[in-house]
Each structure stands twice: as C-alpha cells, then as structure tokens.
Symmetry: C2
Subunit: 440 residues, 2 copies
C-alpha cells in the first residue's frame, strides 16, 4: 500500500513538474524571442529601416502574413505607414478610419476573427492591393506620456485565429518597439531641423540679391544630379548636398557694396570677393559636423579650385581636390553662366557648352563633365526653371525625358533633323529662352 501510494504521489509529482517545465520552457522561448527582437531593433536610428525591421520581426514572431506599423501624423491627422508593395512606398488615411483608427482613439486591443463581418473594418486598402484580410490583431503604441501615437496591425494568422498568448507577446513587443520608434523619430526630427535650417539660411542669403536668387538651390540640384549619374553612395550624396547648399555661405563676410556692385569690379574688389571661398571653409570648420559629414567644410571651400591648380583659395591641383569639390565647381559655373542676369536673356546654349568644353581638363575634371552631359532634358529644364515649376507643361517634360544634354547639343549642330528631334529642340529652347521680369 505504502509503495503504491508512493508511486501515485511520485507520478503526480512528475506530472506537475513536467507541466511546470513545459510552462517555463514556453516562457523562456517567449523571453528569448523578445530579446532577439530587442537586439535587432536597438541599433537602428533610421526610421524607415526600423519600421521594416519591426514589421518583419512581428510577422515572424506571430506566424502572421503581414504586420503594419501605422504612425499618427498629428499635423494632418492621418495614419501613415511605410509599405513595400508595388510603386507606392507609403499608405495614408484619415486617423479615424478603420480598425486602426478605432484603436488609435480607444486605446483598446482589438482581436478580430473575421474582418469582413466587423463594421469597423475598412476594406478600401484590400481593394487597392488585391489582398484578402481574414483575421486582425490590432494594438495601440504608447509614448512615455502614455498617449497613443500609433498602432500595430497584424493580419491573417497562418493557422487559425490570434490567441491571448499572441496578444501578450505583441504587447511586449509593442513596448520595445515604441521606444525604438520614438528614438528614431527624435533623431529624424533633429536631422530635419538641422537640414531645414541650412536650407532656409542658404535661400535667405541668396535672396539678398535678386541676381543670384536661387543659386544655392540650383547648384545643389545640379550637383545631386551629377552625383546620381556618377552613382555616388548615399553618404557621399549627403555630403555633396550639404556642401552645395553651403558653398557660398562665406559671402556673409564680403561687404554687400562689393558683392552686389553692378559695374565691373576693380582688381582689389575682386580679391575681396574671392575671399568668400576661404571664409566658407572657416565658418563650416567651426561646426561640429558628425563623422559622416566631416568633409563638408573642405568640399564647400574648394568650389573655386581648378584642376590645373590655378583656382582659389588654395591652388589645389588634380587629386588634391575631392571629387565632390570637382562636382561643385562644375555645378557652380554652369549655373552662373546659364542664369538670367539683370534685364538680360540667358547666354547662348552653344556658348555655354563651348565654355564648359574649353575648360574641361583645365578647370573641370573630364569625368565629371562627361557624366553631367548625361543629364536628361526634363531634369535640366526643371533645374534651370527652378522656382517656376507651375509654368512648366508636364506633357513637355514627358517628351524631354528620353533625351540628354549630350544629344541636345548634337541635334542643335545637325542639319537634317527628324521631326522628333525638331520637336525636342523647340520645346527645350522655348523654356531656355523664355522672358521673365527679373525685377520682381
């Protein structure tokens, strides 16, 4: 009897222990999964990358077909999300629409077993994407002040419906993801503030003189176009953009009396104007740019250097000039000679090309000029006419899209032009030679 009761007791003990072990094992797996997700999110400050990472991890952890993170755009009162379907990279809708809108407002967790039977469900996105939603688990994302700033939405559990365990796991992930998203948003905001300040400043400085109005912006656009054609990586494109916007900031240090003089400058005055390049570099060197942007002062300060060492301020030669500086030099000159001056039309296109060509190898790096000529005419017109976008016919741009500057020059010099070629030439030259009142 004693033995048999021992056995029963032991058996029940084994059973209890087995149960506990199973529970602990599940709990351990859950915690491990959470830690893995945390690690993968924790290093990411780029909002777009972070959102894609979160969506991928949640989808996997919950055995679902899809996960979307919707964030609230307070200004527009819309919910938006990054998507990677088709050509669109973002979806947006009013912040009170659909299940997501309901969760945003109520702060509740919503677990739906049949979407099309729920009146709150908004079938429009399904219609748009051709997707068929069945089950939905939606959860609010809370900030430090416990306000809802977005929602997690997980669609179509691969087997069955979303369980309470899924809800618990998603809640834990949401806590981690919320912090990561908010860090990325803060970083993003800070970056945008900095950049918008630089943009505003360069535009303001430009508009001091209507002759150079828009110069910094156009130089930036030309430089970025050349950078794209040369396939620079994103970090160098960033450096190029900052340096282009700021290349003339040193003009703050040149007296306006000289800078805006409408007669020819004396030699002494010209020497004073030339100081702006050095001043640009000095001003920018005082800024604690981060590692990624550390070459901005050097590059911005070198936009008047020439390949053959006859430029200024440092008479740098060939390899001594950074590639981005060479791109700026071309962009700066091209804009200077294609801008409309007081009461004057633009310079003849042939004359422009002749100047660029004759200085290729002496002022300009041949490879940079070579790439620049592959700029398509639609982009070129958009930059030349920057600030007049509304006056450009979109149909014209569509026609120009297949032709490059190189081809335009060829067409211009040709005697027997095809009808297509004639049309392209006419469209381009119509914009190029347009008359404006520049004395606004």
């Amino acid at each position: 009897m004693k033995n048999s009761s021992d056995v029963t007791e032991l058996q029940s003990q084994v059973e209890k222990l087995q149960q506990e072990t199973r529970k602990l094992l599940l709990e351990k797996r859950r915690l491990n999964a959470l830690l893995i997700i945390t690690r993968s999110l924790s290093g990411e400050l780029d909002l777009e990358n972070l959102l894609f990472k979160i969506m991928g991890q949640v989808q996997k952890a919950l055995h679902a077909e899809r996960c979307t993170v919707f964030l609230l755009d307070e200004l527009k009162n819309e919910l938006w999300s990054k998507v990677a379907i088709g050509i669109e990279d973002e979806i947006r809708f009013p912040a009170d629409k659909g299940i997501a809108g309901y969760v945003l407002k109520s702060g509740e967790v919503v677990n739906i077993h049949d979407a099309y039977k729920d009146s709150r469900f908004n079938p429009e996105i399904d219609k748009k994407t051709g997707y068929r939603t069945r089950t939905i688990l939606t959860l609010p994302l809370l900030n430090k002040q416990n306000e809802v700033f977005g929602v997690f939405q997980v669609l179509n559990k691969k087997e069955g419906i979303f369980t309470p365990a899924d809800e618990k796991l998603l809640s834990a992930i949401a806590m981690i993801a919320s912090s990561a998203i908010q860090n990325a948003q803060s970083y993003d905001e800070q970056k945008k503030s900095f950049f918008s300040f630089i943009e505003t400043l360069s535009t303001t400085l430009d508009t001091r003189d209507y002759i150079t109005a828009g110069h910094a912006r156009r130089v930036t656009l030309y430089a970025q176009e050349i950078g794209r054609l040369m396939k620079l990586d994103p970090a160098r494109m960033d450096v190029l953009r900052y340096a282009a916007l700021l290349h003339d900031i040193g003009k703050i240090g040149v007296p306006e009396m000289i800078l805006f003089k409408d007669r020819k400058l004396t030699n002494e005055e010209y020497e004073i104007v030339k100081r702006h390049a050095k001043i640009t570099k000095n001003i920018l060197k005082k800024i604690n740019f981060n590692k990624r942007l550390k070459d901005v002062p050097e590059i911005a300060g070198s936009h008047h250097e020439r390949l053959d060492g006859t430029g200024y301020p440092e008479q740098l030669k060939g390899e001594q000039i950074l590639l981005e500086g060479k791109i700026l030099a071309l962009a700066d000159t091209f804009d200077a000679i294609t801008s409309r001056r007081q009461f004057l039309d633009r310079m003849d296109l042939e004359k422009v090309i002749q100047i660029i060509d004759s200085e290729t190898g002496t002022s300009f790096e041949p490879y940079v000029v070579y790439n620049f000529k592959y700029i398509t005419l639609d982009r070129l017109i958009q930059i030349l006419e920057h600030g007049h976008a509304s006056e450009i016919n979109p149909e014209d741009l569509k026609k120009l899209i297949d032709y490059t500057l190189r081809e335009l020059v060829e067409i211009r010099g040709k005697s027997g032009k095809s009808d297509d070629e004639l049309e392209i030439e006419n469209i381009f030259m119509r914009y190029y030679l347009r008359q404006y009142r520049t004395d606004r």
Copy 2:
C-alpha cells in the same frame, strides 16, 4: 520488485525534472532581468541620463558595489566616464592606462579576484577617491563594426568574486547597452552639430560689424542668467538660448549700407532696420524645429515688442508677449546700452540703470527687471567683458561673487561706504570703464 524499480525510476525522473526546472527558472530570471534593463534603457536618448541608468542597473544586477562605463574619446585618446562623486562630474585618463585601457586594447574580458595583486591595475583613482577596489570584472563594448568603443567596469562583488554566470549576464547587458549608448551618441552629435551651426552663424553675422561684435553671444548670456534667476525649467532655458542666439538673424535681410551707417538714420532707413524682427521670425518659422523648440521663432521675433504695446513688429501687449520674449527684450537693450561704441566709452552706469528703471512697466516686464538685478557682479563683469576673459583677474571675480547689481547701485548712491563696499565698487568700475582699442 517491479514497484520498487518503478519508485527508483520515478524518483530519478523527479530529480532530473527538478534540476531542469531549477535551470529553467534561473534562465527565466536572467532573461527577465535583461528585458527589464532593456526597457529602462530603450527610451533614453540623453547620453548622461543613459550612462547613469546603465551603471545603476548593472550594479544591481551583478550585486556589485560600483559599475562604471568608460567611453573612448578618440580625439584625445582618453577614456572618460560620468561620475556622481564629489564635485567632479567626469573622470578621464589616457586610453592605455589600467585594466580598462588593457581591455580597450585587447578586447578581452578580464575578471580579477584581487586588484592590488594585478600589475595592470591603476590604483590612482582609488587614491583620489579614497575607495578600496578588491574585485574587478571588465568587459569591452563593441560597436556595429565590432570595434571596441568603451568598457564596462564592475567593482567589488558584494559576496565573493565575479562568477562565469556574472560574465555571461554582463556580456548580454553589454550588447544592449552598446546599442543604446551609440544611439544616444548619434543623437548628441546631431544636436551639437545643429547648435554649433547656430552659434557659428550668429557669431559670423555679428562680426560683419565690429560695433555689434559679440552682441548675440552676450544677449544669450544675459538671457540665460535671467532665466536661471527666474528658475525656468531646462526646456524653456533651451528655447531661450536658441532664440537669443538667433534673435538678430533677420538682419541678413537689411542692407548693410543702412545697417552699418555711422551717421543718424533717416526715418525711412529706420523703418527698414525695424523689419529685421519680422524677418527673424519668418526665417525661423521655416525651420522644422522639434516640439520642444517650437516657440523659438515667436520668441526671437518678439525681442522688440514692449509691454505697453508700442514695440514692433506686431505691437504685442503684456500677456501676448511670451516670457522668454520679455527676457530677450531686456537682455537686448541692456547689451545695446552697455556696449562700447566706436571710440566711445560705455554709457555711465547710473544712466544705464535710469533707462532700464524708467522703462520698467512700459517696455520691460517688472518681474524680469527685478530678477535681472539679482545678477551677481562676477557674472555681470564676465558677460560685459565677454571675449576678454584672459584679461580678468580671477581674484577680482572671487570678491565680486557675493554682490549683486542691485547692491552695486545702492553702494554707488551711498555716501558713507565701508571699506569692503569701496573695494567692490572700485573693482567693478575698473572693468566697466576700461579702455580698449575697438578698431581691431
């Protein structure tokens, strides 16, 4: 027989299960501790707060007396750490010194059972702080590129020595902490770039004219001093600092011919100069300031508003002017009337105070003026003489520290002055009335 073998088997099964449960329970606790640490770190982008949080959490999790996070300062090749002992808030030493230096270089985990028996141990910090180090666990912090950028150092396990389990736990925490630290560093860098750009810009604009050189910086220092005396919270102090540095940025939009004219301005010219306040606001409004800084344009643009509604550009009255705008108005005027003008000494101190007093209640908010007069004379001289710090005798500053502007005015008007009072007056006025060549 069968029963007894059953019992033995079951007993061994129970034992095995108990062992497994214990192991799982420990593992679960470890993972849970990690997750709690993760959560507490994940929302923190402020580097200083983050480091203190990490040190606190690690100390607790490892049952140690102390934890220090040392970070590598690449520029100076030093290791540094935030500390909260005594008056110092930072310790620094050469990056190759001590156990921390060894771990930084080798990337190894070092677990020491008796610090003073280890030749790599640097006892200098113990000497300085009066602490007695016994056991040390030190671990490298790795960035995304797997380079060591800092070290974790945990001191004096409360019972016994640091175990392999401690090493494992610390490694896991280090992974999480590394990401958090790097995020905070990136954010910090970005913030510093932005701020240094604003500082550089405002200084550059100032130095266009030697008469106003240093104005923005001094106005910022006065404004911050008033803010401190009024006990503004850190967020408002930040807004005040940005607005002060940028308050005159709109002068970019005023022609230098008028701005720097050395004769009296005509009425028309004066109207053009007055536009700068509105332009400041317009420029700053284009910047995507983050939420915390959203009032900067409004405040910077209101530095010429007067309490009674007779200021510009918007003739705001009383409560319509934000407090920070009122502080700026006083700081701006005070600097304008106490600055040295071309070949001229400063205005008489009595005259300065008379102007301020007579405009209190009409131009200036009484409570702001009231607080400003509690500025101590050492601070006041340092701001008045900003840019000439090396010419100020530190002994003089020490004497001025106990007297405020309010008291100085009283002493100046008094007939029977004590020796102390006479000395204070003499010291202050010696600096106030110093002669400089202003035509550098």
